[in-house]
Symmetry: C2
Subunit: 310 residues, 2 copies
């Protein structure tokens, strides 16, 4: 009878670790540094060590541990292999096989954004649903698609690469991915800042945004103060994200869209702008699909990683 | 030991029927008329009768029949219920339950476009793959998404409603769905005709398309003759469809895109225009995803329906 599992979220600077019971209660939560030197060759041994230490500390019976779930910042294929994970300085790694050898436990792995979507479906903004689209609006735009309770990984691990869906011909610089007009360029924290500066440069309309350093937070704070220019920026953001999500609805038709990441801290008002344009563009039977804010914050990764092995 | 199954594709005018062995060989293929009078209440009894007749005719052992798969022109939910199927004059029907009662056999059902995608994955242009996107370019644009060998149905049965993905703000009339700028408006047979007439009206550039009735077929025939105006129209079509498929790649990242329907009879040259723009818009790891022409034509539905019960 399995009672416990580990959920591990490997980031570029820290590894977040969670010990869960099989119902999804966090029993312990801690972090270790991510040592990326020497092509990140210490990362997996460090993770294995901290798991083995925790098993000893808690006096867990190995027979009662369902396994270890890992989320990593890069594409992971169905076999548990990573071709490259730039932020960890990894080239090819057979992630699950190496980790199973190091820990003697069953290991499952996935891309961190996809795994976070699974976490939000399990215990967060998408709880109770089986078809969930998570969009994370941070420095970039990430995403994860859950269909019938399973991560949509895709052939090249690019399932849920929502940040690089093309939404506009109006931007005049390249995205980090090499394309131009990606959702990430206009809906991430930096993307909203770009939209704001572009709008402010257009004319001299007074705005509380003038004379301060513009940020996504500043824009939504100004929207809450009914600033006309900020509202225009929020409308433009809402149009791009609403369009992208409407087009996703025509592909996988989820139960719910969950919006997370730093930008989502603006709260329900952000959803209002997205929903408005989503409804304009979405296919008729999907126009009422609900929107929710993510609830697990930075813990979505460890929850989702734990769920991988359950 | 199951040896046989039936694949049934219910259309607005005829019901296509197939008797298959479990390896996917068609043993018999026939049609019956679709009687849509009286709210389509004869359709299921007619289908059941023709199946029972075929079992008698072929002297099949019922124990050896895996079941009956049904494709219908409307959304079908996971429980096998249809809320409405306009072309069949159906309101709510518990399709699988009724058909099981009528035939005494196990029944599975799906939307016809999704089922056709399953057929193309099994025995057509997507054979050998498990993640397949089928786009059908006919009078409208239909589609089906197969992920890990399973149809992506979606919460409202709108999974794979690719025809209603928004691709342009440049059209000046509404789509049948009520929105404006849908892929169907610019990539179906009628959509290509619209693009052609719009281009021809723009100026007086000579073209073989002038003085004849414009159609999607005429456009691609003219492209094959190197007609400059026709090539412009094909480029515009390719841009819209390439964009839509690139955005789908960022969601489900398929192994292959399969293009079917009457418009696809233009052949490989059509794929060239789509692939060109697909590569421009697709996320880097998906740029080389292959394109194939559908191979089963009007039989995709019976193949996919049969596969539903295997």
């Amino acid at each position: 009878m399995k009672k416990y599992c580990f959920g591990i979220d490997v980031g570029g600077t820290t590894v977040k670790c969670g010990l869960f019971d099989v119902k999804g209660t966090v029993l312990d939560k801690w972090e270790i540094p991510t040592r990326i030197e020497n092509n990140g060759s210490n990362i997996l041994p460090d993770v294995a060590d901290t798991i083995i230490d925790k098993i000893r500390e808690k006096e867990l019976d190995r027979e009662e541990i369902a396994g270890v779930g890992l989320g990593v910042p890069g594409p992971v294929n169905e076999e548990g292999e990573v071709l490259t994970a730039v932020n960890l300085h990894w080239g090819y790694i057979h992630l699950t096989a190496q980790m199973e050898k190091l820990t003697g436990l069953e290991v499952k792995a996935g891309n961190d954004a996809n795994v976070a979507a699974l976490g939000e479906m399990w215990k967060g903004g998408g709880a109770g649903y089986h078809n969930v689209v998570l969009v994370t609006l941070g420095t970039g735009v990430g995403g994860g698609i859950i269909n019938n309770g399973e991560i949509v990984t895709g052939t090249h691990g690019a399932g849920g690469e929502i940040g690089h869906v093309h939404v506009t011909d109006s931007v005049d610089f390249d995205c980090n991915c090499g394309n131009r007009g990606c959702l990430e360029q206009v809906a991430s924290a930096t993307g909203i800042t770009y939209l704001a500066n572009r709008r402010l440069a257009k004319d001299e309309t007074p705005s509380v945004l003038r004379g301060q350093e513009v940020s996504a937070k500043a824009v939504f704070d100004a929207v809450k103060q009914n600033d006309a220019v900020a509202i225009e920026i929020a409308e433009e953001f809402g149009k791009f994200l609403g369009l992208a999500l409407a087009n996703i609805a025509g592909v996988t038709d989820p139960d719910v869209f969950v919006i997370g990441g730093g930008v989502s801290k603006a709260g329900p008002i952000l959803l209002d702008y997205v929903r408005k344009y989503y409804r304009e563009y979405a296919f008729m039977s999907c126009k009422e699909t609900p929107f929710a804010l993510a609830e697990l914050g930075n813990d979505a990764g460890i929850y989702g990683a734990a769920k991988l092995v359950l």
